[in-house]
């Protein structure tokens, strides 16, 4: 390969798309490393503190698309204090001072300020795509800057962010010359929207494929929008309430008939079930349906809707669908690949409406299922064993039994055997979340069988350090391990310290690790940041035996971070 000019290598590398493969390519030899890095356009950084913006910019001068993740996953559940970190500002500053012509930025769990958005919009002339998932720290003022200044904006996708809404004015900031929009998602905005500006924007965006509205957009506006954009592929309705006998609703029914391209449907943040028949004609074409925020659709209305969606590949719903409803899904949606069943009672003190029976029905009816997130009231070993047999193709299997440490209600046994069957049968399993009553034995099985496992989430499980050790020893491809409320201590933490450099991160909270143990680890492994979160000021620097409430460690090239708040100690 030394005889090929660089351009040939580069051309070959063009066909190597995935991040992992390109990373592997770059390790072959210096030549390949150089050619690869100069031609790389898309980079994924799973932990923004693993490296610095400067390192990134130096290595990949041709960078066009950057994905960054900030806070640890458990931040989603309020386990990480507010000012922990994950700021995008230094990245945007560095990028704006460089020659990099960044076009796409995708952020997850990061703190994004209006200042950052304004800087981005003014300094990156070719910027085309902004995707923010579970981020916070910005307001509609920042959005206005993006709208006003990014002349070639194609995509603005806001998913489940906490945004302070100062006004619906930002939509009007898209200049009349902006006609390039392909994707616009503002479903998570809580406030009012300038409806006229929205309609005008849609009217001048002939390439618009994806549009997700917020609650403030009424059915009349939806009707007008669909008239102008029948080419939509992805639609998220806002408020879907009207009088089914009205003129507007009648018009909507006719307009929807022209929207033959819609494949993804979501929204229904407010809904009048009697208006649902208007969407029946497009149900047969749907491959993705997200009703997980549509608390107003349940019972027979929900089932009627689902019966028409025979081509669904992805379904997100609330557990009020019940086991019976899941049986309908199983008999209707033969192409189903991904299912998420969310709890409608999010405080978790009531009863979930689905049990093991719903899951078994799904596994029997949907053999292509590979991704599952299932919040349920209870689960049995027998059911899990059947599910494992019916669906050996699981890649992601996340089960959440709402009551912590709940055993199999029929046998009163732990769920070790059930999950054991899952890991044994599903040889491609990459992500697993456990729940229910579990002993060390389930971790023995995981260590033995889950060869492809990359991410494991554990809560209220296990009896001793052995549990964690089985996993660390056995799962060679483990990248992320997050543990809460388990009896794992220093012995589990310190037995194989080298392992952590092969992983992205480890989170342990409410376990038995001590300050001394963490300090020892930090001392032995200088290329890890071992962070202790000392929220309520309960830890003293001196005593080594005190338990650490929250520890987050991750490999990094750049040592302790300089933006850590007072309550985060990097050991």
């Amino acid at each position: 390969m030394n005889y090929f000019p660089d351009e040939v290598l580069e051309h070959v590398f063009d066909f190597v798309a995935s991040h992992r493969d390109r990373n592997a390519v770059s390790l072959v030899c210096r030549l390949w490393h150089r050619v690869e890095r100069l031609s790389r356009q898309r980079v994924f950084v799973g932990n923004c503190y693993a490296l610095s913006p400067e390192i990134l910019i130096a290595r990949f001068p041709g960078l066009k698309s950057l994905t960054l993740k900030g806070k640890p996953h458990f931040a989603d559940f309020n386990l990480v204090p507010h000012d922990w970190g994950g700021y995008v500002q230094p990245w945007i500053e560095a990028l704006s001072n460089s020659r990099i012509g960044l076009e796409e930025l995708r952020l997850k769990r990061m703190v994004v300020s209006d200042e950052s958005l304004e800087l981005l919009s003014r300094s990156l002339a070719n910027f085309k795509s902004l995707v923010l998932v579970s981020c916070e720290g910005f307001t509609t003022v920042g959005l206005a800057a993006i709208a006003a200044n990014c002349r070639f904006l194609r995509e603005l996708d806001l998913q489940e962010n906490e945004i302070d809404d100062h006004s619906g004015h930002w939509l009007s900031c898209f200049p009349d010359s902006c006609t390039s929009l392909i994707s616009l998602n503002f479903a998570c905005l809580k406030g009012e929207i300038n409806l006229a500006a929205l309609e005008r924007l849609v009217a001048r965006s002939p390439n618009l494929r994806s549009l997700r509205l917020n609650r403030a957009v009424p059915l009349e506006t939806l009707q007008n929008i669909l008239m102008r954009a029948p080419q939509l592929v992805d639609l998220g309705t806002g408020s879907y309430i009207h009088d089914p006998d009205s003129e507007t609703y009648n018009k909507l029914k006719h307009t929807i008939l022209k929207c033959k391209s819609i494949r993804n449907l979501s929204g229904f943040l407010e809904v009048a079930p009697r208006c649902l028949p208007a969407i029946y004609p497009i149900c047969l074409n749907l491959t993705s349906l997200n009703l997980s925020y549509a608390a107003g659709i349940h019972g027979s209305e929900l089932v009627k809707l689902i019966r028409r969606c025979a081509k669904l590949q992805r379904l997100w719903i609330l557990d009020c669908i019940g086991d019976k409803g899941l049986e309908v899904v199983a008999s209707t949606c033969k192409e189903l690949q991904e299912l998420r069943v969310f709890p409608s009672d999010v405080l978790g003190v009531g009863h979930a409406a689905v049990t093991e029976n719903g899951l078994v029905a799904i596994s029997a009816g949907c053999p292509k299922l590979h991704s599952l997130l299932y919040f349920c009231q209870q689960m049995t070993n027998a059911a899990l064993i059947v599910v494992a047999k019916n669906c050996p193709n699981f890649i992601r299997f996340r089960l959440c039994i709402l009551e912590p440490t709940k055993p199999d209600p029929v046998t009163m046994q732990p769920l070790d055997d059930g999950f054991g069957a899952i890991v044994q049968s599903c040889k491609h399993l990459r992500r697993l979340s456990l729940s229910g009553l579990l002993t060390d034995r389930v971790f023995l099985y995981i260590g033995m069988y889950a060869e492809q496992l990359e991410m494991l989430s554990v809560a209220f499980a296990g009896d001793s350090d052995k549990g964690m050790l089985y996993v660390l020893n056995g799962c060679k491809k483990l990248r992320k391990l997050e543990i809460r409320d388990c009896p794992y201590g220093d012995k589990a933490l310190l037995t194989d310290v080298g392992k952590y450099e092969t992983m992205r991160s480890l989170w342990m909270s409410s376990c038995e690790v001590t300050l001394g143990g963490c300090k020892t680890l930090a001392k032995e492994m200088p290329r890890l940041n071992v962070e202790i979160i000392n929220e309520h000021d309960q830890m003293e620097i001196g005593s080594e035996e005190q338990r650490v409430e929250k520890m987050y460690l991750y490999r990094t090239l750049v040592g302790p971070r300089k933006d850590a708040p007072e309550f985060v100690w990097t050991l």
């Binding site: 055997d417 979340s433 033995m448 989430s457």
Partner: protein
């Protein structure tokens, strides 16, 4: 957590044992507890912070505390169930909205010069509502019975207009159904009410 104390002992006994047996081989007896392990750290004292991420209204907080006392195993644990706070906030907001908004309806009475308005939400059931109406308009309507409506020869009968525009006798349908279908109330003179469930 009973596991905590047990594990200390087990650590000593089994520390030197290499047991990577095949699945299905029973390990030395561990009592699978049918009682929920009460991990004292897992269910910390419930303070404001652990009850969801946003401030709850007093009513729902009191409700949560009652549930804590009732079933400690189902007590609220920080960050459990593992649902994104964005999603939790959406649903909490919805329930709070539903709780906060009143259902104000017009009440007219035959012969009275002007109408009144009441908030149906503050009543828990028919007896309370009827009592409130009686107090408001200074009349009495007698006992409700399914077969005879409001008998005992009362001059006035409570009726309501439902979603379809029909005038119905108050009390026939379950309270929840009534609240969602009632558009206005009218206290009808008994003579007109003949035929509205007043049998014979």
């Amino acid at each position: 957590m009973e596991g905590c104390m047990a594990f200390d002992k087990e650590l000593n006994l089994e520390a030197t044992e290499l047991r990577l047996g095949l699945p299905g081989i029973k390990e030395s007896e561990k009592q699978p507890s049918s009682t929920i392990k009460s991990n004292k750290r897992a269910f910390p004292n419930m303070d404001e912070k652990s009850c969801g991420s946003k401030d709850s209204s007093k009513a729902s907080h009191a409700q949560k505390c009652n549930q804590e006392i009732a079933s400690p195993s189902k007590a609220q644990v920080v960050g459990w169930p593992p649902v994104r706070s964005y999603r939790k906030n959406c649903f909490q907001a919805k329930t709070m909205e539903a709780e906060a908004a009143g259902v104000y309806l017009k009440v007219s009475m035959d012969g009275a010069p002007y109408l009144r308005k009441i908030d149906l939400k503050i009543y828990k059931g028919y007896p309370e509502l009827l009592k409130a109406l009686e107090d408001m308009f200074k009349f009495s309507m007698g006992e409700y019975s399914e077969s005879e409506g409001y008998n005992n020869g009362s001059e006035f009968v409570p009726t309501y207009e439902d979603k379809d525009g029909d005038w119905m006798l108050v009390g026939d349908v379950p309270w929840d159904m009534f609240i969602s279908s009632c558009k206005r109330l009218r206290i009808m003179k008994g003579s007109e009410a003949r035929g509205l469930g007043c049998a014979v």
